[in-house]
């Protein structure tokens, strides 16, 4: 999940270093990136499902940190609110409600391991390639972080149709979940 984004960020930082070197940003980026990578590897190798979810928290927090390093404050904060505050909490909630045993799980080493690896590699290639292809030559504004007002102006003018389409899609998913869950 984090890897395609990391590639794009690396490309951006190589570009930035062409001019004046941003030492603090680079050090911060290195620390965040290494933490994310180690946590991502531990997430898929740990034998304890709850630990895996907690490693996922570190990876997502790192992604939020990278967004802030790139000056995208609003996206970074949204990442914390949506992914850490809501989605991982629901993951943990679900795991804790359903998991019978405490401690390591023996059943996680399934035969789906190869398939999961293939799908992961495929997603990495496709999204990484698409990101580099689209944003490979893009310059990042180094002067100011992007303003929240600008982001909202873009959403409600230039990108109003995709925004509304996503809203309707989410509403449909919500109603679908209620229909599936209701017994009567």
């Amino acid at each position: 999940m984090s890897r395609p984004f990391l590639l794009a960020a690396l490309a951006e930082f190589d570009r930035l270093d062409g001019g004046e070197v941003l030492v603090a940003q680079n050090i911060a980026f290195a620390v965040v990136a290494v933490t994310m990578l180690v946590s991502a590897v531990r997430m898929v190798t740990t034998r304890n499902v709850v630990h895996a979810a907690l490693y996922l928290v570190i990876v997502l927090a790192g992604a939020a940190g990278l967004f802030i390093l790139l000056g995208a404050e609003f996206v970074g904060v949204t990442q914390v609110l949506v992914y850490i505050g809501a989605i991982v909490v629901l993951f943990l909630f679900g795991i804790m409600l359903t998991k019978g045993s405490f401690g390591d799980d023996d059943g996680v080493e399934g035969e789906q391991r190869l398939m999961a690896g293939l799908v992961g590699a495929l997603v990495l290639c496709v999204t990484g390639g698409a990101l580099i292809d689209t944003f490979g030559g893009a310059e990042l504004s180094r002067a100011e972080p992007s303003l929240t007002a600008d982001v909202s102006d873009m959403i409600f003018s230039q990108y109003i149709v995709p925004f509304e389409a996503v809203s309707v899609l989410l509403l449909a998913a919500l109603i679908g979940a209620v229909v599936v869950a209701r017994k009567d």
Binding site: F74, V77, T78, V89, L92, F93, M96, F102
Partner: protein, 345 residues
């Protein structure tokens, strides 16, 4: 932060050290004040007793005595517990508290971070504490802790929505997410052309204020929303297995968060560090701003603790119904009305 006050240019690392120290004070001072004023004294008076009287005049040194007691206790970890997660959990809750204090301004030049996303960042980092609570509940390897942790998570997720939606009305009216901008909008606002006291948003956003206070009460897992730590049902929920220093950290986290949420409510609805009748850009506010904010914070905290000591506990289903069937529709209606009026007026 302090360069405007001292008229001295400070290096970045010096500013950072000052910010860290002030941040520590800004977390611990409200927590200590609330525990002494409300938990020790107000609760006692409401129950016709005196509260702590022995340590210092009127028991004012009781806090230090309590901290000393907790520090001496053994830091127990249950044998079946997941040691690392168990030990980390209180720190995750504290991280959330410390990040929360960053967005609150205490004067025109007194701020930790003056960022564009302001209140949105506060609401985002306040949700990190849920993870700490779930970690504590799960890692304790005790059924009371697990049930407490699950109750807490369900409650915090449910009440985060009204909390965010209640703030939306203020954000629409102020036209910014930035905390400094929200204070300025109230300081320079006018009520039907009369600017005598500015325009504190509690007047126009009273519904939002009420929803915010109820949601804060639930977020703090205080009575009447204290099912996660209901002592008559599940011992003390996710805190059951904690002792000594780590229990103290959870305790400080709870009351510091109460203070910070009260300060957030004071900033959003009562005008923050601003006092009517003075020029909001005046340097005077860099001196009296923190005291003004502290006073307003204690006022809001008084409301929160008044409810805490007055009402009995809800049932789990009543709690969820209040959030989903009353507070959220009410908050959405408030947003619609505010939005329409903002465009019309």
């Amino acid at each position: 932060m302090s360069s405007a006050l001292l008229a001295v240019e400070l290096a970045y690392w010096q500013q950072t050290v000052i910010r860290a120290l002030v941040g520590l004070v800004a977390v611990l001072l409200p927590a200590g004040t609330l525990v002494y004023l409300f938990l020790f004294k107000m609760m006692s008076f409401m129950q016709s007793r005196l509260g702590p009287m022995e340590a210092g005049p009127y028991g004012s040194m009781q806090l230090l005595a309590e901290v000393g007691k907790f520090l001496q206790k053994e830091d127990l970890v249950p044998r079946a517990a997941d040691r690392i997660v168990f030990k980390l959990a209180p720190f995750v809750v504290l991280i959330s508290t410390f990040l929360l204090v960053l967005v609150i301004p205490a004067g025109p030049d007194l701020w930790f971070i003056d960022i564009d996303t302001g209140i949105f960042l506060a609401l985002a980092v306040s949700s990190i504490s849920v993870i700490g609570v779930l970690m504590a509940g799960w890692a304790s390897a005790s059924k009371y802790s697990l049930i407490g942790g699950l109750r807490a998570a369900g409650q915090l997720v449910a009440y985060e929505l009204p909390l965010v939606l209640a703030v939306m009305g203020v954000v629409i009216q102020a036209g910014t997410l930035n905390m400094q901008g929200i204070v300025m909008a109230q300081a320079t606002g006018e009520i039907f052309g009369w600017g005598g006291i500015g325009n504190p948003f509690i007047i126009t956003q009273f519904v939002g204020f009420a929803i915010f206070i109820v949601a804060v009460q639930a977020e703090l897992t205080q009575p009447p929303f204290d099912m996660p730590v209901a002592e008559s049902e599940i011992v003390t929920g996710y805190l059951t297995e904690y002792s000594g220093l780590r229990f103290l950290l959870f305790f400080i986290g709870e009351f510091a968060t109460a203070g910070i949420f009260a300060a957030l409510a004071a900033t959003l609805f009562l005008g923050g560090w601003y006092v009517p009748g003075l020029d909001p850009t005046s340097n005077l506010f860099n001196v009296i701003g923190p005291a003004v904010l502290m006073g307003k914070m204690i006022l809001v905290a008084f409301l929160i603790f008044w409810f805490r000591f007055t009402y009995p506990r809800f049932r789990e289903d009543q709690l969820q119904q209040l959030a989903w069937k009353v507070l959220i529709p009410l908050a959405l209606a408030n947003i619609v009305v505010t939005g329409v009026l903002k465009v019309v007026l």
